[in-house]
């Protein structure tokens, strides 16, 4: 149960291996890896800014709530910050539970939160210069799926 913000590249498979090891009562490990897309040459570099101390605390708070809501046994979130090249991993989320539905839903929920409401500021550097990116309409509707009426 930890959130890590890191400036260097990370390897999702190594994180999954460590997260899955030694679990004899976990039936299900769901994971999500977000990769930086080249967008057919439209993006050279993605630049992600966080506010260390606030960003990680806020993500951890949401993850603890999700662990409670979905009955997780464990979770792990690693998020790149700084400059990220196409094909590199931006985010890795893993969730562990006894049965698969909880692990899937919690992983999906955490990604919707991370992509739409987590305290990051994202800039895309491409051949036409740099621009700030905001959540897409789909990011907004995705995260709204989880709100209880």
């Amino acid at each position: 149960m930890s959130v890590t913000l890191q400036t260097g590249p990370f390897e999702p498979g190594a994180l999954l291996t460590a997260f899955s090891a030694g679990r004899t009562e976990t039936g299900a490990v769901a994971s999500f890896t977000g990769l930086a897309r080249a967008e057919q040459g439209g993006t050279d570099i993605l630049e992600l800014e966080a506010y260390p101390g606030l960003t990680d605390a806020e993500i951890a708070r949401i993850a603890r709530e999700a662990a409670e809501r979905f009955g997780l046994q464990d979770w792990l979130i690693v998020h790149r910050i700084g400059r990220i090249a196409p094909g590199e991993a931006i985010v890795f989320v893993a969730t562990a539970s006894a049965h698969r539905r909880e692990a899937f839903e919690a992983c999906d929920y955490l990604m919707d939160y991370l992509k739409s409401r987590a305290p990051f500021w994202k800039k895309s550097h491409g051949p036409d210069g740099a621009r700030w990116i905001e959540p897409t309409d789909r990011d907004r509707t995705d995260v709204e799926r989880w709100e209880t009426p």
Partner: protein, 78 residues
């Protein structure tokens, strides 16, 4: 006095990311920053949030000499 941090496009507009600014309250800090009209307009913009010592605050807040004040434009998600 407060250490002011700007995030995202606010730092691009101001041309700086971190600066010590005089003021014993958020109102006084905003006043000190208003010498830069573009920044002042951006700070007053929709969805800009303020954190004091890494906790989001709404409205006014008193500051000490060691306070860290962050102005955060709408978050983009990761």
């Amino acid at each position: 006095m407060a250490r002011v941090l700007l995030f995202g496009r606010l730092a691009d507009i101001a041309g700086w990311r971190e600066r010590v600014v005089p003021g014993a309250s958020l109102t006084e800090v905003r006043a000190a920053l208003s010498a830069d009209a573009d920044l002042a307009e951006a700070l007053a913009g929709k969805g800009v949030q303020v954190a004091v010592d890494k906790v989001i605050v709404r409205g006014e807040a008193g500051l000490t000499a060691t306070s860290e004040v962050a102005f955060m434009p709408p978050m983009s998600g990761g």
